[in-house]
C-alpha cells in the first residue's frame, strides 16, 4: 500500500532527525538489554538458591537462656539420626559423625521439596527428637550467600527503570518536535484528502521501522556488553554468567514497541487537533 511506501520514503527524507532518534533509541535499548539480562540472571540465581536452601534442614540443641552452652541438652544418637533419615520426605541426607560420636548439629537433611518441612519435623518428633532440639533453616548463611547477588539485582533494576523513563521522555520530546516540524507536511497530506488514520499510520510505520532497526543493533551490542558490565558490578565470589534469553529479548521488543506506540499516541493527539486549513493558513 502506498502509505507504507510513503513512510519508507520519509525515513530517507528526514535523515538527521531519524538518525538522532535512532541513536537515542539504540542507547536506551542496549542499556535495557544489559540491565534486564543481569536482572533476569540474578533472579534465576536467587530463585535456585532459595529452592536449594529451603530444602536444607538442620537440627540443633536449643541454647539455654543462661550459660550459653549445650551442656544439659538432651542427646541425639547416631541411631536416632539414621531413624530420622529413613523418611519419605527426604531426597538425601548428610549425617554428621565425628570421633565415633553422632553430631546432630552437623547433620543436613535434604527435603524433596521445601513445603515438607512441617511434616518432616512432626515425623522426627514422633521418632524421638527431643523437645529441646530445634529444627531450622540456616537463614544467616543464606543471606550471606545471596547478598551480593541481590545487590547486583537492585542495581540492575534501578538502572532499568531509569533507562526506560529517560527513553520514554526523550522519545516523547523528539516526537513532539518532529510533529511541529512536520506540521506543514501533515497539512498538505490532509488537504490532498489523505485520511487522518492513514497519516497516523504513516508516522507510526516510520517510528516502528526505526525502533526495529535499533532493537536489532541494541540487542547485539547489549548482549556483548552485558557480561563485562555484570563483571564490573559483581562483588561476590567467582564469576557471574549473563546470557540473553529469548524471553528477555521479547520483553525488550515489547517495551520498545510500547515506547514507539506511546510516541505515536502523542503524535496522534497532536495531529487530530489540527485541521488542514489551519495548518496551511499558518504558513501562507
Amino acid at each position: 500500500m502506498y502509505v507504507f511506501e510513503h513512510a519508507l520514503l520519509n525515513l530517507g527524507k528526514n535523515k538527521g532527525r531519524n538518525i538522532l532518534l535512532g541513536i537515542m533509541l539504540f542507547a536506551v535499548i542496549a542499556s535495557a538489554v544489559i540491565a534486564l539480562s543481569i536482572f533476569n540472571a540474578t533472579d534465576s540465581i536467587i530463585e535456585n538458591a532459595r529452592i536449594e536452601f529451603n530444602t536444607m534442614i538442620q537440627i540443633r540443641p536449643q541454647r539455654r537462656q543462661m550459660g550459653g552452652n549445650d551442656n544439659g541438652a538432651s542427646t541425639v544418637t547416631l541411631e536416632d539420626l539414621h531413624r530420622f533419615a529413613d523418611s519419605d520426605y527426604l531426597s538425601g541426607v548428610q549425617i554428621g559423625v565425628g570421633g565415633g560420636f553422632a553430631r546432630g548439629n552437623e547433620t543436613v537433611f535434604y527435603l524433596r521439596s521445601p513445603e515438607l518441612l512441617y511434616a518432616f519435623e512432626a515425623e522426627m518428633r514422633e521418632k524421638g527428637l527431643p523437645d529441646d532440639w530445634a529444627v531450622f533453616r540456616d537463614e544467616s548463611s543464606y543471606r550471606r550467600m545471596i547478598a551480593p547477588i541481590e545487590n547486583l539485582q537492585d542495581i540492575s533494576l534501578t538502572f532499568l527503570i531509569v533507562v526506560m523513563l529517560f527513553g520514554a521522555a526523550i522519545m516523547i520530546l523528539l516526537s513532539v518536535i518532529a510533529i511541529r516540524e512536520r506540521k506543514y507536511e501533515i497539512g498538505v497530506l490532509r488537504a490532498m484528502g489523505m485520511k487522518k488514520n492513514k497519516v497516523v499510520l504513516c508516522l507510526w510505520v516510520e517510528t516502528i521501522v526505526i525502533t526495529f532497526v535499533c532493537f536489532v543493533f541494541g540487542i547485539i551490542v547489549g548482549t556483548v556488553l552485558s557480561n563485562p558490565v555484570a563483571g564490573a558490578l559483581w562483588t561476590g565470589e567467582g564469576q557471574i554468567n549473563i546470557a540473553l534469553n529469548g524471553i528477555t529479548a521479547l520483553q525488550i521488543l515489547g517495551a520498545s514497541l510500547l515506547l514507539a506506540t506511546i510516541t505515536g499516541a502523542v503524535s496522534v493527539s497532536r495531529i487530530t487537533k489540527y485541521e488542514p486549513i489551519k495548518i496551511l493558513m499558518e504558513r501562507n
Binding site: Y2, H6, L9, K13, N14, Y184, E185, G187, V188, L189, R190, A191, M192, G193, M194, K195, K196, E275, P276, I277, L280, R283, N284
Partner: protein
C-alpha cells in the same frame, strides 16, 4: 448542470468580529469557467476553502451534487471530487514533482495501481503544464515559484476531478505559460465538462470566464466586475 451551490453562507474567523462573508449565495455549473475577483483581503481564499471542504461554515450550507458538504466524507471529497490549486502551492517540498503527482493519484485511490504507469501519467500531465522530465524528477524545493505553481496545477488535475478550484493559478507565470494554462482550464470546462472556479487578479483570466463573480464587503456581486 448544477454541481456546486453555496446557500446563504456567513463566515467569520474565530476571534474576529466582522464576518468575511455575509449571507452569500451562488451556483456553479459543470462545463463552465468561473472567475472570482476582488481586492486583497476581500475573502476570495476563504470562499474557496469553504467550497473545497477545507473548512466548514457555521451558517449556511455548501452543496455538492445536491448533498450537504458538511455531511459528506470531506477527505474523500477533497481527494476524488475536487482538485485544488492553492495560492501557496502546498506541495511536499522534500519530494520530487512527479512523486507529488503519483501520491495524489494514490490518495484518490486511482484505478491505475502500476507504479510505472502512474509515473508515465504524471510525466505526461507535467509536460502539459510545461514541466519536462528532468525538472519533474527534481525536488519541489529545487524548483522556481512558477514551476511549483505548474506542479500544483498538474496535481489538481491528476485524479480527474469534477471540480477544479484555483487560487491565483497564474500569479507566478509568464504570459506564454499563463496562456497555455488557461487553455488547459478552458478545455477542461468546455470539452470535458468540468466545473472550473478561478480566483484571479489577471485580466487575461477574466477574459476567458463564462461568468465573473465579484466579492466586496462580504457580498457576492454575480456577473459584475469590481
Amino acid at each position: 448542470m448544477k454541481c456546486l451551490e453555496i446557500a446563504d453562507v456567513t463566515y467569520r474567523y474565530d476571534g474576529s468580529t466582522e464576518a468575511v462573508l455575509k449571507g452569500v449565495s451562488a451556483v456553479f455549473e459543470k462545463g463552465k469557467v468561473y472567475t472570482i475577483i476582488g481586492q486583497s483581503g476581500a475573502g476570495k481564499s476563504t470562499l474557496l476553502s469553504l467550497i473545497s471542504g477545507l473548512d466548514t461554515c457555521k451558517e449556511g450550507e455548501v452543496y455538492y451534487n445536491g448533498k450537504k458538504l458538511r455531511n459528506l466524507d470531506r477527505d474523500e471529497y477533497r481527494s476524488k471530487s475536487i482538485g485544488v490549486i492553492f495560492q501557496g502551492y502546498n506541495l511536499l517540498l522534500n519530494s520530487t514533482a512527479v512523486y507529488n503527482i503519483t501520491l495524489s493519484m494514490n490518495i484518490s485511490e486511482s484505478d491505475i495501481k502500476d507504479k510505472k504507469a502512474q509515473k508515465e501519467i504524471a510525466y505526461a500531465l507535467l509536460e502539459k503544464v510545461g514541466i519536462d522530465r528532468e525538472t519533474a524528477d527534481r525536488k519541489i524545493l529545487q524548483l522556481s515559484g512558477g514551476e511549483q505553481q505548474r506542479v500544483g496545477i498538474a496535481r489538481a488535475l491528476s485524479h480527474d476531478p469534477d471540480v477544479i478550484i484555483a487560487d491565483e493559478p497564474t500569479g507566478n507565470l509568464d504570459e506564454a505559460t499563463e496562456a497555455s494554462v488557461l487553455e488547459i482550464l478552458t478545455r477542461l470546462a468546455h470539452e470535458e465538462n468540468k466545473c472550473v472556479i478561478i480566483v484571479t487578479h489577471s485580466e487575461n483570466v477574466t477574459a476567458i470566464a463564462d461568468e465573473v463573480i465579484g466579492i466586496r464587503a462580504g457580498k457576492l456581486l454575480i456577473g459584475e466586475k469590481v
